[in-house]
């Protein structure tokens, strides 16, 4: 666990911004092009997971991510409800687009934090004792 390859660490460090960029691209363009919340969230989670290959230490705060996931889940329930009740009359394309982008963003962040929590819990807590 202690030894990690220098080559992998450097290359992954170079690739970081691009992974995060493509993740947000997939999420934000989810309603017009292939992809969406789940796929983009998985890309973001793979950025976090490849972080483990660079720095295999327990410096990530899982508790904060759990709180973030709960808040995001609450928002995912809340926003469609509000949208449904508030805009019965107007069905403008602009409002629909904003709604789709916001929902995709929330779902993507929730998926990425969920997968990251699963991975880091498995790595640091399960079966190590």
């Amino acid at each position: 666990m202690k030894s990690n390859s220098q080559i992998i660490a450097r290359v992954t460090g170079l690739l970081y911004p691009f992974i995060i960029l493509i993740g947000f691209y997939i999420i934000i363009n989810g309603h017009v092009s292939p992809g969406g919340g789940f796929q983009g969230g998985a890309v973001l989670a793979s950025a976090f997971i490849s972080r483990y290959l660079v720095i295999p230490e327990e410096s990530i705060r899982i508790k904060y991510m759990q709180t973030l996931e709960k808040v995001l889940f609450f928002c995912i329930i809340l926003i469609p409800t509000l949208f449904l009740f508030s805009s019965t009359g107007n069905d403008s394309a602009m409002a629909n687009t904003i709604y789709l982008v916001v929902m995709n963003l929330l779902i993507g962040l929730k998926v990425s934090s969920g997968l990251t929590i699963i991975f880091y819990r498995f790595v640091f807590y399960e079966g190590g004792e």
Partner: protein
């Protein structure tokens, strides 16, 4: 045409990953397999599924499997001594201090808990009839390590032995075909 090539490639990769002796290699083959299958999805007009398959199949699950393999720590070590009749307790303690403690330390650093079995059987009997990862056979100050050929943890241990041999002992490393174990 391209899709047929990739479909055949998928079958080949699945067979390879089933037949390869090392688990790590099988994991890598599975990663390539899911990459090929995501390309097939793309050709069949499902880019959504292709993205999900490429990320989850070849990135996340591969890393997860590799970490799980690193944590896999059922590791059996047999210890035999050719002269167990003649030696005294103090010699056992000293011999243990020299070889087994070092072996234990080596595997503890890799987060594995070795299961060490002392046996009075002859080492040839153990070689043929037991299923083991590492067999340590000691003949006064000659030590033989019999490593399982298919185990990648034994590779690391062999390197370690060759890098810093035990000074008073003459050690020798032998790779052994996976035992005829039960």
């Amino acid at each position: 045409m391209v899709e047929k090539v990739f479909l055949i490639l998928m079958v080949l990769l699945a067979m390879l990953s089933l037949n390869t002796p090392k688990l790590r290699r099988a994991v890598i083959y599975l990663g390539i397999l899911s990459l090929a299958s995501s390309f097939i999805y793309l050709l069949y007009g499902a880019p959504d599924v292709a993205i999900a398959e490429a990320i989850i199949g070849s990135a996340i699950s591969t890393v997860l499997y590799l970490v799980a393999l690193k944590k896999y720590h059922v590791f059996t070590i047999y210890y035999t001594n050719a002269n167990y009749n003649q030696i005294t307790d103090s010699q056992i303690t000293r011999g243990r201090a020299q070889v087994l403690r070092d072996v234990e330390k080596f595997f503890a650093e890799r987060e594995m808990e070795p299961q060490i079995i002392y046996t009075t059987h002859d080492y040839r009997f153990v070689l043929e009839n037991r299923n083991f990862d590492l067999l340590i056979h000691q003949d006064f100050d000659e030590v033989y390590f019999y490593g399982n050929k298919e185990d990648y943890q034994v590779d690391a241990f062999e390197e370690h032995v060759q890098k810093e041999p035990y000074d008073p002992l003459r050690s020798k490393f032998i790779r052994h075909e996976a035992g005829g174990g039960k």
